[in-house]
Amino acid sequence: MANQPSPVIEPGYTFGTVTDKISSIVLTRPTTNGWIVGFAAAFMLTMMLLYALGYLFLRGVGIWGINIPVGWGFAIINFVWWIGIGHAGTLISAILLLLRQSWRNSINRFAEAMTLFAVASAGIFPGVHTGRPWLDYWMFPYPNTMNYWPQFRSPLIWDVFAVSTYFTVSLMFWFVGLIPDLATLRDRSDNKYLKSIYGLFAMGWRGSARHWARYEMAYLLLAGLATPLVLSVHTVVSFDFAVAIVPGWHTTIFPPYFVAGAIYSGFAMVLMLAIPIRKIYGLEDFITDRHLQNSAKVMLATGWIVAYGYAIEAFMGWYGGNRYDQTLLWNRLHGPYSFWYYSLLICNLAAPQLLWIRKMRTNPIWLFLISLIILVGMWLERFVIIVISLTRDFLPSSWGMYYPTRWDWMTYAGTIGLFLSAMFLFVRILPMISIFEMRTLLPEAEVKPE
């Protein structure tokens, strides 16, 4: 039996027990001390974010480590990192839906929530990176008395449209998926106030066959629209670099390599959340070893696409014969930041090779550690791309160094706190597994065609 894949949902469940098991986490499970401590820690980091941002608005971006030549520092590194993490949620909910991978049904809800919170964390950075967030509305095209319009030939304005569309569509996808489950919570809750609140958001959902038919169609269309969207978002993010002429940025490999890297880090984050959640809430019957294995395989595959990207970057640096590209390659291998380049290779290329071993793919602790290493590696990748290219561009007289300050680190750690706080609240007040989609996985859901 060792070679049999584990089931998507353990046997012995009925519509009723699936419903009770998932809804009871929200409705009847008491708030544990562990949750309070975890949330408090995450919330303190969020407060630190507000402090760091407040000081930024007061003093300006001079408190950060950015300088000339490194005008882009932590803000864009963290932005790209967070946006990338967000990609796994949409991949799981949209692309795997279109590919009829029904195992996704038990992880899509919290993966979508993860996407939302990751994109929200990402959105903070472009919002504040000038230190003047009160002028952000200048990015949007609207008739104004200043007599100007945005410049649509710039990848940075493409980013505004790509990221805001991505956030909006992810939010709608997540909320549409929640409607039937909110109705379940409305009907299961004994508390009058909770009933009203869940009922308000369930909008009077009653599970009519006509409603379900339109609902399923809308859900499918959203998946079809979100699929090219998710692939476009990191492509557009990579254009921020690829359209520039800086060595190490100006390459055509960037879009596919960014998208693969995004999914790579996103699945790592999904695993880092799924492994503790399924343990703490006893959901091993719904998030089984099959889910862990499949996610590990996706990481292994996308990890190799990323490896291919690194190889092509290095190869083109040598083969292209361009002096500046060769210098960049030399700088990565031997320059002042070479330690981080080698760390990146160890994190992103060496560590995930452990996933070839089946025992590693099914061992939650190892998977958790490998995922953590991959997340660090993907952060380092953005650091290497941005800092190594900017510190040493065409003219040695304009070379420099970049050192992040404590404010950079506080802002970064603060967004992690914001992300975790939101996740803590999410698992406490909303069903973290899609109840109605789990019901469709049960054998009793099958209906004979006429």
Partner: protein, 180 residues
């Protein structure tokens, strides 16, 4: 004693299969104003109550939305970059269409998705704060593990006694009259 007007008669079934069978038989018996309620989407149920895929206007709404979005996106950029605020960027033509594709694409997706979601909600008549079906206490299980079939009193074939008898012949677990 004043009798409340009846919204319809509701029968409860234990499984999706039983509900689909009952819905088919009700439709065959000539009832047209019927509805079925299930805790998860059952593909066959729409057909069984006579709601066919050609009656589903969500794709049309989404298509119109997506086309509107794409046109809005492109024309907006054309207006801005060529007519209202022409700026020479690196000697490119004002109508540098390849640069406009991305925003056009994103606007297509955005409008298409918004139309799909809000179109679905509008066609379903949601949000609806009050609905007579919730007057039946057992209906709370329609979002858990019970399946319901409803014949509305507006159906031409409806008569309280006869319809009730017909629904009883389908072998439901319970039958309730739904006050409106």
């Amino acid at each position: 004693m004043k009798t409340l007007p009846i919204y319809g008669i509701m029968a409860e079934f234990p499984s999706a299969q039983a509900l689909v069978d009952a819905a088919r038989r009700t439709h065959e018996a000539g009832y047209r104003k019927i509805d079925a309620y299930s805790p998860f989407p059952v593909e066959e149920l729409g057909e069984a109550i006579g709601f066919h895929s050609k009656d589903n206007y969500v794709p049309l709404v989404a298509l119109i939305g997506a086309i509107t979005g794409g046109l809005t996106g492109y024309l907006m950029q054309y207006y801005i970059a060529v007519i209202s605020y022409p700026v020479n960027v690196g000697g490119r033509p004002y109508h540098s269409w390849p640069s406009f594709i991305i925003v056009t694409f994103e606007m297509t997706i955005l409008f298409g998705a918004i139309s799909a979601v809000f179109g679905m909600l509008a066609l379903n008549g949601l949000p609806m704060p009050y609905h007579p079906v919730f007057n039946v206490p057992r209906f709370a299980f329609a979002t858990k593990d019970r399946f319901f079939l409803m014949v509305f009193s507006t159906d031409p074939k409806y008569d309280t006694q006869g319809t009730r008898k017909f629904l009883e012949s389908l072998g439901p677990q319970s039958i309730s009259e739904v006050p409106s």
